[in-house]
């Protein structure tokens, strides 16, 4: 049995009988492992397990970037021994301490996020193989390196859908092993939970990569296309005169059938299809090659879900998986909006009508006999949703259903407010709703209007209001003009960065002449509203950084315009180039961001990808100036995406809410022992500047985040021109947003050529007067002072085994 591989065979004696074996459990992986062993240059970690990266790489990272544990709760409520009070790092009844428990809490979030992406990938892979067959080629654009994350983990380079299966099985197997460690009485050391979290993060990027490459290949999404079309975005883009089908979630599989049905039945201009979160982004990528209608619109992120439903605009809502609110059915029911659950991961307790006749289901839903249903048959789903939308539109119009309060209702509710302050204490954003209500009572609605963008639509305020005021509706009522004007553009997700782009840009990145890559990725839990990410993106684009983006971040960047009425997507090119704004795609497209960094190491620097995570990560950490920003990160998927970046040596700044992830990775800049690497040429230790000084931390405001990210793009191996350019940006941004030059800029200076050109003389004077460095003023050269030396040929590495004499 074990000698069989995947495929089909026939038994000769049984004439006309063919036995087809689609998959032999374990055989595909076994074959893949055999194939991987044949790789001449493979690294040491093909098909890694829980322990594979631990000592050789993860512990090296965690030694410098120490886990900072900030518990959310003093107690552990995980098993029936408890609840246990762990405050002050006490140990609970099972023996685990506060550090270990919180390491487990963070790890649990990372594996949950990993599982979400991997399960999404499995769903799509199986569905697409069933629909298109295993031989469908992975045509992803101008690339030879199609799947860098898969290759790093498994050594494989799949060329069609079928060849992806071993990588999928690998992720699933390791996820099972990882989940098992969370059981009470298993792993208890915080540092090992962190190592496992890092491993899980690496798996997450494999799962995401699988999800995106299969949909790009099968659904004709843009293929590494810098010219991917502009897509309408915002609540104001919906034509309210047409029936409106609203799609919510992250899995585009089922929804493509709706778009096909619309097209086949000539309904593309008779109704609207738009959505929230990544399904909407991926719908806008569907069949982009020939760019034919229907053109799906993107409304926005999860924070808009309740606002859109409360607006009463949708005639039918379809949900699939991930980032879908739990109260959509009761909220939609109030406004006679049927809800269709199209994915087994979210079924909402609704009746399953998968086996029913579509005509019957339409009648059931139209009459309101059931509030919604589960429909897992995609062919029926496509027909059901479109027909139902076309029928519900006129019905709901005729009934005059609207959720926006009248002026009289609005005035009554505002007058009811007793200024008790409970809403403000309950609000996750700590919005001063009582103050805004107070001004509204006096006829000034501007304070309430300001809350619209800051409000994340969670309705915690309404839950605690003793007067039962529908506060969310109040805010949306005064923001109607603002909502109507929410019309922007985002570039449809373009897919991975091509090999050609890496070749063209790799040198600039490694040398530092392109100051860095800023990766702005999703989630809408911003402390001050959506415009923060726009400001951050604009600042870096104007400074010629490459800004890559995905998911909700990509959406929010497109919601705002400059004084000429142009969005950033219209102002900046879509290529992976200096000053490019590169919308890679939805959440799962984040794998292409890490993939781009990996490709710099593989294509530009000729490093082996196969089974070689530590060496690739080491290269990125020391040479590739990239920094992530997950400004509104709230979900478990965000924690796994970020942790996957961290293991690869890419630091990330998160918004203030992300402190609730309970864990950061911060280095002690004052401990000199932490800032040494080996020179791979001879194995000697070489001091480096504290760069980057964190792998994961939070910033309080977007103004603080900007200089932090610019600083995090500094890398030990910058050449002098690169260091000078990076210091220029960081110091200028620090002064611009924090009011003063940074205190520690001198730690990054190795010689006079590292100094920002425009301020060189003034900085030399400061080095002399403040830090006692010796300067030759005739030659304007630094004679002595720097603790770190510049050697253009040095090869900084954290891996002793890469050194020549090792």
């Amino acid at each position: 049995m074990s000698k069989l591989t995947t495929g089909s065979f026939s038994i000769e004696d049984l004439e006309s009988v063919q036995i087809t074996i689609n998959n032999i459990v374990g055989a595909a992986k076994e074959a893949a492992e055999e194939k991987a062993k044949e790789l001449e240059k493979a690294g040491p970690t093909l098909f890694p397990g829980l322990e594979s990266y631990r000592d050789d790489w993860n512990f090296k990272l965690l030694d410098r970037y120490e886990p900072v544990i900030t518990p959310m709760c003093d107690q552990c409520c995980y098993c029936t021994y408890g609840p246990c009070d762990l405050s002050g790092n006490k140990r609970g009844a099972c023996g685990i301490d506060m550090l270990g428990h919180n390491g487990r809490e963070f790890f649990l979030r990372v594996i949950t996020g990993t599982a979400c992406h991997a399960a999404h990938g499995r769903h799509l892979l199986d569905h697409l193989i069933e629909t298109f067959g295993e031989d469908l080629p992975l045509n992803l654009g101008q690339s030879n390196v199609l799947t860098p994350n898969i290759t790093i983990s498994t050594g494989l380079s799949p060329k069609n859908l079928g060849e992806i299966k071993p990588a999928m099985e690998f992720v699933e197997e390791q996820l099972t092993q990882l989940l098992a460690t969370v059981h009470a009485g298993q792993e208890s050391a915080e540092i090992d939970y962190d190592s496992k979290a890092l491993f899980s993060g690496s798996l997450d990027h494999v799962g995401m990569e699988i999800s995106d490459v299969v949909q790009v290949a099968a659904y004709d999404f843009p293929k590494a296309d810098p010219e991917a079309p502009l897509i309408e975005i915002g609540m104001g883009t919906i034509d309210k005169s047409k029936p409106f089908l609203c799609v919510i979630g992250h899995n585009v599989g089922g929804v493509t059938y709706m778009m096909d049905y619309m097209e086949e039945h000539d309904l593309t201009d008779k109704m609207e299809i738009a959505g929230l979160c990544c399904t909407a982004i991926d719908l806008s990528r569907y069949k982009e090659a020939d760019r034919r209608p229907p053109y799906a619109k993107v409304i926005g992120s999860m924070s808009k879900e309740l606002k859109v439903i409360r607006s009463g605009m949708p005639d039918v809502i379809v949900v699939d998986e991930q980032c879908v609110r739990g109260d959509i059915v009761p909220e939609a029911q109030k406004l006679k909006i049927p809800v269709i659950a199209s994915n087994a991961k979210i079924m909402y307790g609704l009746p399953n009508r998968t086996d029913a006749n579509v005509d019957d289901v339409v009648e059931e839903l139209k009459s309101g006999a059931i509030p919604g249903c589960v429909m897992l048959d995609y062919d029926k789903l496509g027909e059901l949703c479109i027909r139902l939308t076309m029928e519900m539109g006129p019905i709901r119009d005729a009934e005059g259903i609207t959720a926006i309060p009248t002026d009289e209702e609005f005035a009554d509710w505002v007058a009811k407010c007793a200024d008790c302050g409970a809403c403000m204490i309950a609000c996750p954003e700590e919005l001063d709703i009582p103050e805004a209500m107070g001004f509204a009572k006096e006829g000034d609605f501007s304070y309430l209007e300001e809350l619209h963008d800051q409000c994340i639509g969670c309705r915690r305020c309404e839950q605690v209001c003793k007067k039962e005021i529908p506060i969310l509706n109040i805010i949306e009522k005064v923001a109607q003009k603002q909502i109507a004007e929410e019309k922007g553009w985002m570039r449809a997700g373009r897919g991975q960065v091509s090999d050609a782009e890496i070749r063209a840009e790799g040198l600039n990145l490694v040398m530092g002449t392109t100051p860095g890559i800023i990766a702005i990725i999703g989630c809408p839990n911003y402390a001050e509203g959506t415009k923060d990410v726009y400001y951050i993106a604009e600042e870096f684009l104007k400074r010629n950084f490459i800004v890559v983006t995905t998911g909700c971040g990509a959406m929010d960047i497109g919601m705002f315009k400059d004084e000429d009425g142009k969005t950033l997507y219209e102002r900046f090119p879509g290529g992976f180039e200096c000053g490019g704004l590169v919308n890679i795609g939805s959440c799962v497209s984040n794998a292409h961001i890490t993939g781009a960094a990996e490709k710099v190491a593989a294509i530009f620097a000729q490093r082996t990808l196969e089974g070689n995570l530590a060496e690739i990560s080491d290269y990125i950490l020391n040479r590739v100036g990239a920094c992530g920003l997950a400004w509104g990160a709230f979900s478990q998927k965000a924690s796994s995406i970020g942790t996957g970046c961290n293991i690869l040596g890419i630091p990330a700044v998160l918004g203030p809410h992300s402190s609730k992830y309970r864990r950061a990775l911060i280095a002690k800049t004052y401990e000199e022992d932490k800032w040494k690497v080996y020179d791979a040429r001879n194995g000697q230790e070489m001091p480096i500047p504290p760069a980057p000084e964190f792998l994961l931390t939070t910033a309080e405001t977007w103004q603080e985040a900007i200089p932090m990210m610019a600083k995090a793009c500094i890398r030990p191996s910058d050449n002098s021109m690169g260091r000078s350019i990076k210091l220029t940006h960081w110091m200028e941004l620090h002064k611009k947003y924090l009011g003063k030059d940074p205190e520690d800029w001198w730690k990054f200076v190795r010689n006079e050529a590292d100094l920002p050109l425009a301020k060189r003389e003034a900085l030399l004077k400061e080095l002399e007067s403040k830090h006692g460095w010796e300067i030759d003023w005739k030659k304007k050269k630094i004679i002595s002072g720097p603790k770190i030396k510049f050697d253009v040929s040095a090869q900084p590495t954290n891996l002793k085994r890469l050194c020549k004499e090792a």
Binding site: D74, S87, S659, G739
Partner: protein, 170 residues
């Protein structure tokens, strides 16, 4: 005298340990007695009313300021001893007895926090609460569970009045 020792309702951190509420009088005494205090200031101090009181506390009690977030921008021209540091980083360093501090003279024994969103400072302080002996005093408008001591939830006017009382008693 503003009653700052009531209304400790919270929607941020959870668990069995809660900070002790303090009056401005007790807070002032604790701050005055601290051997090596640090005033940790967040970005909400961009509010001029709060900024004015931050400057007065720092000058009256001669306390250096750790200006986190983007608060340094408003403090740069106020003639106070203020230095920028990221709040999360500071929260971590405060748990390390070997941290040389912002001035190189060693770690601090008392940290007074002002100008933060509750959810953020509660998380930052939870490291110090669980993994150090640092004393933290929150003189915020909201009740900060993970501080050693804190004002309760206050109205904006009461908060300003409580800070004024504290400044008078320093």
């Amino acid at each position: 005298m503003v009653d700052t020792a009531k209304n400790t309702k919270l929607f941020t951190s959870y668990g069995v340990s809660t900070s002790k509420t303090v009056t401005p009088e007790i807070a002032a005494k604790l701050i005055s007695k601290a051997k090596r205090p640090l005033l940790m200031v967040g970005t909400l101090t961009l509010d001029p009313e709060l900024l004015d009181r931050v400057v007065k506390i720092s000058k009256t009690a001669n306390i250096p300021i750790a200006a986190t977030g983007s608060s340094l921008a408003s403090l740069a021209d106020k003639d106070v001893d203020a230095e920028y540091i990221n709040a999360h980083m500071l929260g971590f360093y405060l748990t390390d007895p070997n941290w040389p501090g912002l001035d190189g003279n060693g770690n601090y024994d008392t940290v007074i926090v002002l100008g933060f969103k509750k959810f953020y400072i509660n998380q930052v302080l939870s490291a110090a609460k669980n993994f150090s002996n640092l004393k933290t005093i929150a003189i915020e408008r909201g009740y900060i569970q993970n501080a050693t001591m804190s004002f309760g939830n206050l109205s904006k006017a009461d908060h300003y009045a409580a800070l004024d009382e504290l400044i008078d008693l320093l």
